[in-house]
């Protein structure tokens, strides 16, 4: 039992990250109908930028915030420069466009930062804490804390703000929303920027744990997508839950089987869900956005 608990402890941090990326997928998909293949790359940008900024001597908080801003900007640029001009094109074209963005961003990252992983120290130094017999690193606690904060912020945003409600409206019925003078192009901009910002936050809290490397966009993006799909792609909170589930499943696989298969777990889960239950595992728990 304690072994299992340890797996949970190890996996829940990664899982929260997957969930945060998944949130971005859900938001963009519901507001625009697009699956943004570059979602994981915003995480990558946040992570790498944080490292660079810290190396310039900037104190932690501004460095991290600035890194998040950079990620958010990337999302904004994606929407303005690529998605918006292609708005009238077919779904196929839009998919490939986001793939193109992802590839281009990855290549740029490679040019700027090179192949070597970039490291960042944990936010608070110190040994792991022991909760219920399982060792939980302090950074993992940061991850969980930040994730909780974001979840609350999202709840507040979608429940309490005009823009948030407008985005929900867009998600439920784009045509009706347009009739209410909600501009889909603007909603799309918000969606991309928000999704990228959240991914940036994920990158920033993640980098002390796994380091940052130029090609982390794809694996994290895929796992984020898996998290979103587990949640049925309907709700950001479903994505968060899906991410946690996935993180734990992964940790269990690594622990009981082998680490080589760990990567395969997410892909296999994704494949299985898409095949068996495209509406997601948590569709029953159809959590509304707020």
């Amino acid at each position: 039992m304690s072994e299992f608990l340890q797996f949970v402890a190890s996996g829940v941090g990664q899982g929260a990250i997957y969930g945060l990326i998944g949130v971005g997928f859900v938001i963009i998909y519901n507001v625009t109908g697009i699956i943004n293949f570059a979602q994981g790359h915003y995480l990558m940008l946040g992570a790498l930028t944080a490292v660079t900024l810290r190396e310039t001597g900037l104190p932690a908080v501004p460095a991290l915030l600035l890194a998040i801003v950079v990620a958010a900007l990337a999302g904004l640029i994606t929407d303005r420069a690529v998605i918006n001009p292609a708005r009238r094109h077919s779904t196929l074209t839009l998919i490939i466009l986001t793939v193109g963005v992802a590839i281009a961003v990855e290549g740029l990252a490679l040019l700027v930062w090179g192949v070597n992983p970039q490291r960042y120290p944990p936010f608070t130094a110190g040994p792991p804490l022991f909760l219920g017999g399982a060792a939980v690193s302090r950074q993992t606690l940061w991850v969980l804390g930040v994730t909780l904060a974001i979840a609350l912020a999202l709840w507040w945003f979608f429940q309490r703000t005009v823009v948030g409600k407008a985005m929900q409206a867009c998600a439920m019925n784009r045509d009706a929303a347009r009739l209410q003078a909600i501009d889909p192009a603007q909603m799309s901009l918000y969606a991309f920027t928000m999704a990228a910002a959240v991914a940036g936050v994920a990158g920033v809290v993640l980098v002390p744990i796994t380091s940052a490397y130029y090609d982390m966009g794809v694996p994290f993006g895929l796992k984020g997508f898996t998290a979103a799909v587990i949640g049925g792609l309907v709700s950001p909170f479903g994505a968060l839950a899906g991410g946690l589930l996935l993180g734990v499943a992964e940790a269990v696989a690594v622990g009981y089987v082998s680490s080589a298969m760990a990567e395969g777990v997410a892909f296999a889960v994704l494949a299985l869900i898409l095949v068996l239950r495209p509406e997601g595992l948590l569709a029953q728990v159809r959590v509304r956005w707020a």
Binding site: I34, H89, T91, L92, G107, L110
Partner: protein, 346 residues
Amino acid sequence: MGLRRWGPLAVWAGAFGVGVLLMPIADALPFLTRANLVVFALHGIAAMGLTLVMGFAGQVSLGHAAFYGVGAYTTALLTAKVDWHPLLAMAAGAVIAAVLAALLGRIVFRLRGHFLAMATLAFGLVFYVVMRSWDSLTGGNQGTGGIPDFTLGPLRFDSDTSMYLLAWAVLLLGLIAARNLLSSRPGRALVAMGSSEVAAASVGIDVARTKMAVFALGAVYASVAGSLYAHYVTYVSPESFGLLPSLRFLVISTVGGIDSVWGAPLGSAVVVLLTEGTRELVPRFVSGATGSYEIVAYGLALVLVLLFLPRGLAGGAALLVRRAAEWAGTRRQPAPTAALEEVELR
């Protein structure tokens, strides 16, 4: 009558000649080698399969390199370990790829749009991970080697030049097959299905079955190319069949133009030029740059083409030809410019 009979033959002989001509051109360019030509031809073949799937059946596949891998690994294992004749091994690979594709298609084609794309991506990656982990069969990360040269009777293809000419010939055969297909009953069914599934079904086309069939056909193209690749490099490892190769095929198909079978070789040429070009140029501007940074070029090419030239280069070329024909007055009336509709994803 005589000339008409020999017409097509002359055209294809000419096309082969074009391939031959590419060799001195490659030699002349400092950053290109004949090895690049081999890659150009092989990727052209594989991407042609993807073009059939994406362009004519409107289905996205982000895991196409998996079938490339099936061909390569089948050839590797059957020729190196069991001493099969290369052609037989290639055929075996093609059959396995077709069967896998049919099975996968069956499962995955119920999905729509992005989900289909994601599913193909996921399956491609699962394949990659499996190939990497199945040490006993595939040699795992290390891969498997000792693959003999491709032979056809007395002919032995053991140099860049001979492999290139072989690959180019196979590419032309692939083009012929594709054109034969498209100007026939099943080909029209394909195009119809890519346009409007419901209307296609209304004339009796079994959409599900047809999707499976074209997916299998696309897989066969990739597998054949993969088999040739195995003979060429004599050693295969999972790296050549992961996500990046799949994306590369995607870029080739899209940049070349998914509406035309000529798009794949065209796109492949462009991608090779981009790849080698960036490899040549980037180190001059960014010191110490290492790694596969040609992916920047891929990404930019993809985005730019889609935004400004949605039908790809082949489409753009076709448009130019049509405009030129109009201008030269070879048409009795101004040619009706068909509505530039994208191939809709169903």
